[in-house]
C-alpha cells in the first residue's frame, strides 16, 4: 500500500476517536484499575478507597449507558452504604494502618494464572459468540417507569420479587442484630467485654 492511503486511514481513526469513546476508556480504566488496586494493595484502608473508585467508575458506566436510575442506585447503595459499612468494619477491627500479610507466592501465582486463563477462555467464547439483538424498540428506563413496573402485578410486574427481597432484608437485619448485639449472657461475657474495649479503643484512635 502506498503511504497516502495509510495517512488517510490514520486520519479517519483520529477523527472518529470521539469524546464518548474517550470517556468510555477513561471509565474502563478507572473501573479496572480501581479493582486491580483494590485487590492488590497492602493497606486495607487504601484498598477500600480503591474499591470506592472502582464502584464509582461502574456508576459512571451506567450513566454512560444512560441508565441514570441504576447509576444513582449504585452510588447510593454501594458508595453510600456498603463501602461505608466496610470502612466502619475496618475501623472496628482496627487494622486501618497496618500492612496486610502477603499471601504465599505460589498461591498468588496460581490464582493469577487461573484468573488469566479463565479470562482468556470467557473472552474467547464471548468473541466467537454471535449475539442476536431482539431489535425491539427501547423502553424508557426512567425512575418513574421502573418504580411503576416494580410494583405492578401485571405482565412484567416485579411485585413478588420486591416482596421477597423485602423479607430477605428483614431477615438479614434480624440476623445482624442477633449476631452483632452485645450479648449479656455469662457464657460469652468475657469475649464481649474484650471486644467492646477493643472497639472503643479503635474509635478513640481514630
Amino acid at each position: 500500500m502506498n503511504s497516502l492511503q495509510f495517512i488517510v486511514i490514520a486520519a479517519n481513526k483520529i477523527i472518529f476517536l470521539t469524546a464518548s469513546t474517550i470517556i468510555f476508556y477513561i471509565l474502563a480504566a478507572i473501573v479496572l484499575g480501581g479493582g486491580l488496586l483494590a485487590v492488590t494493595s497492602r493497606k486495607i484502608f487504601r484498598s477500600a478507597i480503591y474499591l470506592l473508585f472502582s464502584l464509582i467508575g461502574i456508576a459512571g458506566l451506567y450513566f454512560y449507558m444512560n441508565y441514570e436510575f441504576i447509576a444513582a442506585v449504585q452510588i447510593v447503595v454501594y458508595v453510600g452504604g456498603i463501602v461505608v459499612l466496610i470502612i466502619f468494619s475496618i475501623f472496628l477491627t482496627h487494622e486501618a494502618g497496618a500492612d496486610m500479610k502477603r499471601p504465599a507466592w505460589t498461591r498468588i501465582i496460581f490464582a493469577a494464572l487461573a484468573a488469566l486463563f479463565g479470562f482468556a477462555l470467557v473472552m474467547m467464547l464471548v468473541r466467537d459468540n454471535e449475539f442476536y439483538p431482539s431489535g425491539a424498540p427501547a423502553v424508557d428506563a426512567g425512575a418513574g417507569s421502573i418504580g411503576s413496573q416494580m410494583l405492578s402485578t401485571t405482565e412484567h410486574g416485579y411485585i413478588l420479587p420486591f416482596e421477597v427481597v423485602s423479607m430477605l432484608l428483614l431477615a438479614a437485619m434480624i440476623g445482624c442484630i442477633v449476631i452483632a448485639i452485645k450479648s449479656r449472657t455469662p457464657g460469652t461475657e468475657t469475649a464481649d467485654n474484650q471486644s467492646r474495649r477493643d472497639a472503643f479503643g479503635t474509635t478513640d484512635n481514630l
Partner: protein, 472 residues
C-alpha cells in the same frame, strides 16, 4: 387478587403469616416462655405441612414468576415436615436460648426462600429464593454465639456462598445475554447449546453443586456443619440440600432438557468424584457432625445418580429418596443433638459403649445409620435401590458399578459408628440421657418413617403419579 392466588401460594402465604406472627409476638413480647413459643410454632408448621396436601392444582402467578403444581406442593411439604422435626429436636437446645424468636424467624425465612426457589419459573425468583435461603442460614450457623467454631463456620459459609452465587450470577447473566429472557419456559427454546451458553450452564451448575456440596465444590460443607449448632447442621444437611435437589431436578429436566447429553456427562463426572471422595473422607472422621457431613456428600452423589435417568423415574426416585433421607438423617441428628446439648460431646469415640445406658437411643441411631447405608429393612434400602435403578436406566454400568461398590465403603464407616455404640468397651460410657418429650416424639416419627416408608409403597406410588401427571 383472585382466589387462585391464595390457593396456589397457600404454603408461602401461611409461612409468611407465621413469620409475622412471631415477629409481632417478639415485638410485643407476647409469650415469655420459650417452650410455649416452640410448641406454638411447631403447631403452625404442622398445619402448614397438612396444607401442602389440600387442593393442589397447577398454576402460574405473576406472569411466570411463580408456578406450582401437585408435586411441587409435595416437595414443599417434605421440607416443611423436615423443618418441623428439626425444630422439635431443637427443643432441648432452644428452651433456654435467648434468641428463640429470631431463630424461628430466620429459619422460616430460609424455608420461605426455598419455597419460592422451588416454585420459581424465572431466574430472578430463583436467585432471590436462593439468597433468601442462604443468607439467614449463615446467621443461623453463627447462632452458638459463645462458640468460636460457630462463627468461623458462619464466615466460611457466607463468604464462599457469596462467591458461589457470584459465579452463578455470571452464568445467569450469560444465559440472559444469549437468550434475552429470564423466564425458564421462554428461555428454553433459545438454548441452542452454543459454547457460550454451555459456559453459562457450567457456571450455574457449579452454583448448584456448591449448594449440594458435590465434589469439588464441597469443601465448605464439613467445616460449616461442624461449626453450626446441631439443629442448624441438620437443617443444612437435609432441608437446604433437599430444596436444591428439587430445584436442580426441575431445572435440568425442564429448562435444560435439550442438553441431556451434556448434563449427563457433567453429572457422571461429579457423581464419580462425589461418591468416591465423600467416602474417602468419611472413613477417617472422628467428629460425628463432620462424619455426617461427608456421609451426606456421598448421599448427594447417589441422588445425582438417580437424576441421570432423565425421566419420570429419575424425578420420582430423587424425591422419594429425599423423604427417606429426611427421616434417616434427622433420626441420626436427633440423637446427636441430644448428646451434644446434654454432654457437649461430639466425637465418635465418646459414643463408645453408648448402648450400655441408652438402649433405645442407640437403636434409633443404628436404624438411621443402616438406613443411610441402604440396608434393609430400613427405607434407605429402597431409596438407594430406586436411585441406582434409575441410574442404570441409561445402561451405563460403569457409573452404576462405581456407585454400587462405593456402598461397601460407606457401609464400612457406618458400621464403625455402630460398632462404637454397641461393641466397643468404655470404662465410663455416657450417662443415661433423657430428652424432652418433643425430641422423643420427633425421634419416634423418624423411626416410624425409616421403617414404614420403605415397606409401604404408598408414598412412592403417590409421588410417581404426581410426577407422571405434571412434571415439576
Amino acid at each position: 387478587m383472585s382466589l387462585d392466588f391464595f390457593i396456589l401460594m397457600k404454603q408461602e402465604l401461611f409461612l409468611t403469616l407465621i413469620i409475622f406472627v412471631l415477629l409481632t409476638l417478639k415485638v410485643v413480647d407476647g409469650i415469655k416462655k420459650n417452650p410455649t413459643v416452640i410448641h406454638f410454632t411447631n403447631f403452625l408448621l404442622l398445619v402448614n405441612f397438612i396444607l401442602g396436601f389440600l387442593g393442589n392444582k397447577e398454576g402460574e402467578l405473576f406472569s411466570g414468576m411463580f408456578h406450582t403444581n401437585g408435586i411441587l406442593a409435595v416437595e414443599k411439604s417434605i421440607l416443611n415436615l423436615g423443618t418441623l422435626i428439626i425444630s422439635m429436636q431443637a427443643f432441648d437446645w432452644l428452651k433456654d436460648h435467648k434468641h428463640v424468636y429470631e431463630f424461628y424467624i430466620l429459619l422460616l425465612c430460609t424455608l420461605l426462600g426455598m419455597f419460592f426457589m422451588i416454585s420459581s419459573n424465572n431466574f430472578l425468583m430463583f436467585y432471590l429464593g436462593l439468597e433468601l435461603s442462604s443468607i439467614p442460614l449463615a446467621a443461623l450457623v453463627n447462632f452458638d454465639l459463645g462458640k468460636l467454631r460457630s462463627s468461623e463456620g458462619a464466615v466460611k459459609m457466607i463468604l464462599s456462598s457469596a462467591f458461589a452465587s457470584g459465579i452463578m450470577l455470571f452464568g445467569i447473566s450469560i444465559l440472559y445475554g444469549t437468550t434475552g429472557t429470564l423466564n425458564f419456559s421462554e428461555m428454553q427454546p433459545y438454548l441452542t447449546g452454543n459454547k457460550l451458553q454451555l459456559l453459562g450452564f457450567i457456571f450455574i451448575f457449579s452454583g448448584f453443586a456448591f449448594k449440594l456440596s458435590s465434589v469439588p465444590f464441597h469443601l465448605w460443607t464439613a467445616d460449616v456443619y461442624e461449626g453450626a449448632p446441631v439443629s442448624v447442621t441438620s437443617y443444612l444437611s437435609v432441608i437446604s440440600k433437599g430444596s436444591v435437589v428439587f430445584v436442580l431436578v426441575s431445572v435440568l429436566y425442564s429448562l435444560f432438557r435439550n442438553w441431556e447429553g451434556v448434563w449427563y456427562n457433567v453429572l457422571f463426572f461429579s457423581i464419580v468424584l462425589t461418591i468416591t471422595v465423600g467416602n474417602l473422607f468419611a472413613i477417617r472422621q472422628y467428629n460425628i457432625k463432620r462424619f455426617l457431613a461427608f456421609s451426606s456428600i456421598t448421599q448427594v452423589g447417589y441422588i445425582l445418580l438417580g437424576m441421570t435417568a432423565g425421566n419420570a423415574m429419575g424425578t420420582t426416585s430423587s424425591i422419594y429418596f429425599m423423604i427417606v433421607y429426611v427421616f434417616s438423617n434427622l433420626g441420626a441428628f436427633g440423637v446427636i443433638a441430644l448428646v451434644s446439648t446434654q454432654t457437649g460431646k461430639e466425637s465418635i469415640n465418646d459414643l463408645k459403649g453408648f448402648y450400655a445406658n441408652n438402649r433405645s437411643l442407640s437403636w434409633v441411631m443404628a436404624l438411621s445409620l443402616f438406613s443411610l447405608a441402604g440396608i434393609p429393612p430400613t427405607a434407605g434400602f429402597f431409596g438407594k435401590m430406586f436411585l441406582v435403578t434409575a441410574g442404570a436406566a441409561k445402561g451405563n454400568f460403569i457409573l452404576v458399578g462405581i456407585a454400587v461398590l462405593n456402598m461397601v465403603i460407606s457401609l464400612y464407616y457406618y458400621l464403625r459408628v455402630v460398632k462404637a455404640i454397641f461393641v466397643d468397651k468404655n470404662e465410663n460410657p455416657l450417662p443415661k440421657l433423657n430428652g424432652s418429650m418433643s425430641l422423643n416424639i420427633a425421634l419416634i416419627i423418624c423411626v416410624l418413617g425409616v421403617l414404614a416408608v420403605g415397606f409401604a409403597s404408598g408414598s412412592f406410588e403417590y409421588i410417581h403419579s404426581l410426577v407422571a401427571q405434571a412434571p415439576p
